[in-house]
Amino acid sequence: MIYAGFFGWIGRIIEEYAIQILYGIGRTLLLSLFGTVVGFLIACIFSYIRVKENPKIIGKILKGFVNVYVTVIRGTPMMVQALIFYYSFKMIGIDWDPLTSGLFTVSINTTAYLTEVLRGGIESVDKGQYEAARSIGLSEFRSMIFIIYPQAIKNSMASIGNEFIVNIKDTSVLNVIGVIELYNACLMAGNRYYKVVEAMTIAAIIYLVLTLSSSKLLQMLERRIGSPIKPIQSSN
């Protein structure tokens, strides 16, 4: 078969590296989904620590930790974080593979962003909701679990979904520790023939399909859950 021209090379790369590229897509989706889910779960705890008023001594220490954590992680590139985690764990004798390390990094990273998202979500819930919850005898913790978080999460759905979409794109930096996700798989295929532009065009199109379809899916999910709750202004 004769391959020629830009589209010809694209066809050839896809044909020969279909399996690798599919694995790359799988890893990219795994990293983004895992990172968003784990990040969300930890962020639920961290945001609680972050918004807790008048914490006791342990709460204060935890709050300090979360504040530093959020600032440091959001203030540094994920690529740098990935390298630090990957090699520092190896230095202390934990021999992990790039994918595991990548899953760890993206979870740590997403946690920081979603902690802030949820904090905003919690603050967007009218204060009267919390007071009413306390007034019927719910403890602080239960008020948060049963009344505040359901509303805060619902109000944050768009941002949480957005974080997932950002992760689809940003996990490409995990190639620095050798994770063969979508970008890396395409790059390797392209390098084989010195056809980087063709390979990256393939990557770009697949990323676009992934982000657009995720965005559509999330929109449908959001509609199912219902529009964000508009808080009623309390006036006490």
Partner: protein
């Protein structure tokens, strides 16, 4: 005596909002707290169920100093109805009235549902059990809020201007629900600007001004023979309306 407030003081920053407040509430009393805006009425109510922490003073509930009580348990016995309703937006009408019962009072789901339904019927909201708060009018929301407070079977309910956030045409329905609740014999403390309502429904009036209770009188006496000039002015303004 169901409630005894002794020498209650509350500051916000440097501002003395409650200056040495003392009063008693007998079982079955319907007390209306009157007074101009900013006189400390809301703060007083909120100190009673510790949504605000007083700076000093004691509050006795059924003779027991509330300092020695579990705050969440105390709150199940003292219901609160807010000016802005504060229905739980993530729960439907029925569940708004059940969550306190199941999560705090540990009633079974069936029992909680039965009691919630009974209270929602009392406030005329039987048709709306599975509606979300967003689907209700202000008056309906406040009626549900009253049912929510009643569902915990409290022995005292505090109302903080329950009709002030309502459109005028909805004030009546909420006031008549409160009159309906009165028939149960439950003790109520109501902050209100609805003077006619206060006159009809209350057994006693507390007239507050600038962080102190200026008058604590039987309702009849308050309206016939107010002791202070402030109260006289206040009533006069109402009569002229």
């Amino acid at each position: 005596m169901i409630l005894e407030v002794k020498n209650l003081k509350k500051k916000f920053g440097d501002e003395d909002v409650l200056k040495d407040i003392s009063f008693n509430v007998e079982e079955g009393d319907i007390i209306c707290i009157l007074g101009s805006s900013g006189s400390g009425k809301s703060t007083l109510l909120r100190c009673i169920n510790f949504l605000e922490t007083p700076n000093s003073g004691d509050i006795f509930f059924n003779g027991i100093n509330t300092k020695n009580m579990n705050i969440n348990e105390l709150r199940t016995k003292i219901g609160m109805v807010f000016q802005s309703f504060n229905l739980f937006n993530n729960l439907n009408v029925l569940k708004n009235c059940m969550i306190g019962q199941t999560k705090v009072l540990r009633r079974t789901k069936e029992e909680a549902k039965e009691i919630a339904t009974k209270e929602l019927i009392r406030v005329g909201m039987k048709e709306y059990l599975d509606k979300s708060p967003k689907q209700l009018s202000g008056g309906q929301m406040q009626r549900v809020a009253i049912a929510r407070a009643l569902s915990n079977s409290p022995s005292l309910i505090l109302f903080d201007e329950p009709t002030s956030a309502l459109d005028p045409e909805m004030v009546g329905e909420v006031l008549s629900v409160i009159k309906e609740v009165k028939k149960t014999g439950i003790t109520m403390v109501i902050v209100t600007h609805e003077m006619q309502f206060a006159k009809e429904v209350s057994t006693r009036i507390l007239f507050m001004n600038d962080g102190v209770i200026l008058e604590d009188s039987r309702t009849e006496d308050f309206f016939k023979n107010p002791k202070t000039d402030r109260a006289k002015d206040f009533i006069k303004r109402f009569m002229e309306q």
